[in-house]
């Protein structure tokens, strides 16, 4: 290919050079010879700075803007691995997962899954769990606003229709399964406490009430109940799900009532309707 590159080719060449993880010189060197010649010919040489130095201004702005955003989105991951390794993690991440969303807000979308297979997870086996917790916190922060079910409204529901009640959950609610106690580890990272943690299956729910994001470890029964509710289960379905065989129905209902009371207090119920079928 010869002559002046069209706009599309100009942009593709420019892109390949400025996103290269080792900088513009390495980006140019990595191009096929014809593309390298075309990329070198793109720029007007001017005194004061070389073309590679000018391209590096863009290469640095590209990487550090995303790095800074991800430091804010994943403060626990940053605290766990330290600034140098976080830099390396994001360098590796962007090679595989360049941002594809128009908003920087979503640049870290694939980081929890990516961290699971990254070498840093050998030294920090809870890294992916902490990343997933932080991503859920971000999702809860700007989730769609949903109403908070009022306990007084629920108290007016006649006892005979409770079994057919279906609860709507807050759109901000996330129920997560971890191999490590990610909630406690995350709190320790924020408190600057050294992390010493053994594997322990942990369930955590993350939600927003008004403008604040919360998280709390929950037991397996609550996790099952919330997942069933999200799938459309009624109060009676959840009672049956959680009760061992031959449990007194009133005892089973009391256990689920207890959960409902907690959910009301935390503001994770958005509504309740009597099931039509």
């Amino acid at each position: 290919m010869s002559g002046t590159p069209d706009l599309g080719r100009t942009q593709r060449l420019f892109w390949d050079v400025v996103v290269a993880p080792e900088g513009a010189a390495a980006g140019l060197a990595a191009l096929a010879p014809a593309n390298r010649a075309a990329a070198r010919g793109l720029l007007r040489e001017r005194p004061g700075m070389t073309s590679v130095e000018r391209l590096d201004v863009y290469a640095n702005m590209y990487f550090f803007r995303i790095l800074d955003a991800l430091k804010q989105d994943f403060p626990g991951v940053l605290a766990l691995v330290g600034a140098d390794e976080f830099h390396n993690l994001i360098t590796d991440y962007l090679i595989v997962h360049p941002s594809r969303h128009y908003s920087l807000r979503y640049a870290g979308q694939e980081l929890p899954a990516f961290a699971r297979d990254h070498r840093l997870s050998q030294a920090h086996p809870y890294l992916a769990d902490v990343a997933a917790l932080e991503w859920a916190m971000l999702a809860a922060f700007d989730a769609v606003d949903t109403p908070v079910l009022d306990a007084a409204a629920l108290a007016r529901v006649a006892p005979e229709v409770w079994g057919a009640l279906r609860f709507e959950l807050s759109s901000s609610l996330h129920v997560l399964d971890f191999d490590y106690p990610a909630d406690r580890i995350w709190q320790d990272t924020q408190a600057g406490i050294a992390i010493e943690s053994a594997a322990a299956a942990t369930q955590v729910r993350v939600w927003r009430r008004e403008m604040r994001v919360y998280h709390r470890a929950i037991d397996a029964a609550e996790r099952e109940a919330l997942r069933a509710l999200r799938a459309g289960a009624t109060f009676a379905d959840v009672c049956a799900l959680l009760a061992p065989a031959n449990t007194d129905p009133q005892v089973a209902a009391a256990a689920v009532f207890g959960l409902v009371r907690i959910w009301l207090g935390d503001g994770i119920l958005a509504g309740a309707n009597v099931a039509s079928t």
Binding site: T10, L42, Y102, L104, D145
Partner: protein, 285 residues
């Protein structure tokens, strides 16, 4: 000195960028400032605090949506999701107008989240102008395009930046958000005259000014928005006000963000520049 009226781009006075560091103070104290500009993408989210704050602020101040991801110069197709989300945000907060940058931000579906430079060619003028027309159709309003700071020049550029900007504004019938600091930064980086740039921009196209601080890196100036506006840019702003009139002006400060009162000082300094120019204008009482 003239205060030009424009139905699409009313004169808002002297504003500052709305940044999260100041949310609580603005909501609690409702400080004196004529208007706020917000980064559109920060509020193109499903719900939660950002939209809550935006709606509260909008109750008391005019707002302008200033985007960073329209990618008007990209050879990728326009992103219909982006335009839908931007239109929905505009419907929600009724901005005085919408602006973005004369640049591209990504290609092949990837986003650099940075304002990347365009070659100043006829091909790019045709490409960008056609896309601006489509964006304006989709949004149901004219937009403003801002000149970005640049750090390199393409060898195949055939016109200077100011001709490129003016040609696109003319062909797309859009307005210009003239960033005075960006002119200063690019003039240093490429060795052209900032004064010649301002003198070449058509008066009737300029509907907003940006003022910001930059960082001197020795070999080049970097548009970092982490300093006060420097004296040279204030002088250039005075020249721009003399040419374009009392155009709506905004102070940008995005890093090392100072107390809100410091931003107010910068906005008031801009007001005083305009007042001084008004006194000096031919025919002033």
């Amino acid at each position: 000195m003239h205060h030009r009226q424009d139905r699409d781009f009313p004169a808002l006075g002297f504003g500052v960028g709305l940044r999260s560091a100041h949310y609580d103070e603005i909501l609690a104290e409702r400080p004196q400032v004529d208007w706020f500009e917000v980064i559109s993408e920060n509020f193109m989210v499903p719900g939660g605090r950002p939209l809550h704050v935006l709606e509260r602020v909008r109750e008391h101040y005019p707002i302008v949506l200033h985007g960073v991801s329209l990618s008007i110069g990209s050879t990728d197709p326009l992103n219909p999701t982006y335009l839908d989300d931007l239109a929905a945000l505009a419907h929600r907060c009724e901005p005085a107008w919408i602006s973005d940058h004369l640049c591209w931000t990504g290609v092949a579906g990837r986003n650099a989240h940075d304002l990347l430079p365009l070659p100043y060619t006829e091909e790019a003028i045709v490409h960008v102008a056609e896309r601006v027309l489509r964006v304006q159709d989709r949004l149901g309003r004219r937009i403003l395009l801002e000149n970005a700071s640049t750090y390199l020049e393409f060898a195949h550029s055939s016109v200077p930046e100011w001709e490129f900007l003016a040609a696109i504004a003319e062909r797309a019938d859009c307005g210009i958000l003239l960033d005075v600091n960006n002119i200063f930064v690019s003039a240093f980086n490429h060795g052209f005259s900032a004064q010649a740039y301002i003198a070449a921009i058509p008066i009737e196209r300029v509907k907003q000014f940006h003022l910001a601080g930059h960082t001197d890196r020795g070999a080049f100036l970097h548009d970092t928005h982490d300093h006060p506006v420097c004296d040279e840019v204030w002088a250039l702003y005075g020249m721009a006000v003399e040419r374009f009139g009392a155009v709506s002006t905004l102070i940008e400060w995005d890093d090392d963000i100072p107390p809100f009162a410091r931003l107010q000082q910068e906005a008031e300094r801009a007001r005083s520049v305009v007042q001084l120019a008004t006194l000096r204008a031919p025919g002033a009482a």
